[in-house]
């Protein structure tokens, strides 16, 4: 199964990583690479994670997006193919 890229940014708050990790854990998704920084009070994160169980991708994506909406964060969940296509010759 393909890998997934999660990009999150928005005003920093307590527990963003905690809440995101909890969702990843619920779907048995492991983090393969993660970069996170805070620039002038703005939270930036990109993670490459393994795929959730078969047929759970849609549900997993929605969970993360719902969390983003609730917490006023921009949450984008995309298959790695899009990034590979765009940034690799």
């Amino acid at each position: 199964m393909k890998k997934i890229v999660i990009v999150i940014y928005g005003k920093d708050n307590y527990g963003i990583l905690y809440n995101v990790s909890k969702i990843l854990h619920d779907y048995k998704v492991s983090v393969e690479n993660i970069r996170q920084s805070i620039v002038s009070n703005y939270f930036n994160m990109m993670a490459i994670v393994s795929a959730p169980e078969r047929n759970k991708y849609g549900e997993f994506k929605k969970k993360l997006e719902d969390y983003g909406k609730k917490s006023n964060l921009m949450v984008n969940v995309m298959l790695e193919d899009v990034f590979n296509a765009m940034h690799q010759v």
Binding site: K3, V5, V7, Y9, N33, R35, S37, N44, M46, I48, Y57, G58, M74, N76, V77, M78, L79, E80, D81, V82, F83, N84, A85, M86, H87, Q88
Partner: protein, 456 residues
């Protein structure tokens, strides 16, 4: 996977979320050659079965890809074999044509696709008796259908320009405007006149599945003026070499998205992937405008001196960047300059910086032609034919595709506006030079193909 940087990830995400990057259309081309028969009802049945067989999952697959990849796919469309060929034996009257057209339209609506193109005739070498009947029925067909699009190819570099067909097209456009007057003459937005039309164009209203094409195919049209605009903001004040490189780089990225979507759609639908059309297609959304790009290059308002040069740069660099990113390039490929579908163009036309004549000059270097231009409702048939003849000759002489999609809005005049809604937008009525060309158009006959040497 080589890890991508946060900056690259954010760039990609922002292209979709803020700069309106989308795949404009996945268009399934379907050959209807094997549906031909001499019985109208049987023909309708055959067409229905064939379209349902190949396209039944088109919308579902489009939506699935959209959800999975988080890439907006705005339209799902079908193009079919030019219908003047398919209807040749079965249709004898306008009522017959309308019956077939309504069948296609209702299948398309049942499939929930956005547009179906191919109510088309190719008459650049001259019209058959059936072609003439077919063309004369177009206004009725367009007024009785919702998503069916029509086109007529009247000229080509290899065969010249059929002036009888050009004359007839003026009449078709006027009649269509009258028959659809309750909708601001919307029927005309679904009718295009072409020179050198490509066989594999995924964009409407001019898409058809040419007879050189295979059984079924998936073609993709990308979009992305908003993304180019953002990239150019960062190249402000830099020299032309940098400007060209910036457009080329971004065109590569946009096209890669189209390639990904097209390959995936073709695989899921079990048909070959055809071509990517590299055209930048604007929408009325703020910032998703070709005109904005031209102005960012350094023009006060689109239409000012320098506009044609700026458009030529854009067109050429989009092709150069896109060619390398795509496996197969085709269709129209370049930059569209429809007036009503582009807020920047609308503004420039309202300010009278952009005139019909300047647009005509711009079409010498853009991907298509005079597109979605509203003109006064009382413009005569022969004047419309004259505009068509001019535009076709630009294509024929310069060996490029040109097209005309004019809307002589019934009952409206310069200063008024017409509203089409959705992707088609709205348009100010533009001034037309009304000195007569009637005697010129009335000559009829055929203009021979141009010489291909001694280019000056």
């Amino acid at each position: 996977m080589e890890i991508i940087s946060i900056e690259q990830a954010l760039e990609t995400v922002e292209m979709f979320s803020k700069e309106h990057l989308d795949v404009r259309t996945i268009t399934m081309g379907i050959s209807l050659l094997d549906t031909m028969t001499n019985d109208v009802d049987k023909l309708c049945d055959n067409i229905k079965n064939k379209l349902m067989y190949y396209a039944k999952d088109l919308v579902k697959v489009g939506n699935d890809i959209e959800r999975e990849y988080s890439i907006p796919i705005i339209n799902k469309r079908i193009s079919i074999t030019p219908m003047s060929i398919i209807t040749e034996s079965a249709c004898k009257t306008t009522a017959d044509y309308v019956k077939v057209a309504k069948t296609i339209d209702s299948v398309a609506q049942k499939l929930k696709i956005d547009f179906i193109g191919g109510w088309s005739a190719i008459v650049n070498g001259g019209m058959t008796k059936n072609d003439e009947r077919f063309l004369n029925a177009i206004p009725k067909v367009l007024s009785k259908t919702k998503v069916l699009c029509s086109s007529v190819v009247v000229g080509s570099t290899k065969s010249g320009l059929d002036m009888d067909a050009v004359k007839l097209c003026g009449k078709i456009i006027k009649e269509t405007a009258n028959l659809t007057k309750s909708n601001d003459s919307l029927g005309c937005a679904k009718f295009v006149v072409f020179a050198n039309a490509p066989d594999d164009n995924p964009f409407m209203a001019g898409a058809f599945h040419g007879i050189s094409q295979g059984e079924a195919v998936i073609n993709v049209g990308v979009s992305g003026p908003g993304v180019v605009r953002k990239a150019l903001l960062e190249a402000k004040g830099k020299d032309f070499t940098t400007l060209c490189e910036t457009i080329k780089n971004i065109a590569f990225k946009i096209t890669r998205v189209g390639q990904l979507v097209g390959t995936s759609a073709a695989k899921r639908l079990g048909v070959p992937f055809g071509i990517i059309d590299l055209s930048l297609a604007p929408t009325p959304a703020k910032g998703d405008s070709i005109s904005d790009i031209l102005e960012l290059m350094g023009l006060e308002v689109t239409g000012a001196p320098g506009t044609t040069c700026a458009l030529a740069i854009l067109n050429d660099q989009v092709k150069k960047g896109g060619i390398m990113a795509a496996k197969n390039v085709g269709g129209l490929s370049g930059a569209f300059i429809p007036v009503s579908e582009d807020q920047g163009m609308i503004n420039a036309a309202t300010k009278k910086s952009l005139t019909l004549e300047k647009l005509e000059a711009m079409t010498c270097v853009c991907s298509v032609g005079l597109d979605m231009i509203a003109i006064p409702g009382d413009t005569s048939e022969s004047t419309i034919s004259g505009i068509i003849a001019d535009e076709m000759m630009i294509g024929i002489i310069n060996q490029k595709t040109t097209a005309v999609r004019l809307i002589p809005a019934y009952g409206k005049n310069v200063g008024d506006k017409v509203f089409f809604g959705g992707l088609l937008g709205y348009a100010p009525i533009m001034k037309v030079n009304n000195y007569s060309c009637k005697d010129f158009i009335d000559r009829g006959g055929h203009i021979p193909a141009p010489i291909h040497s001694f280019k000056n």
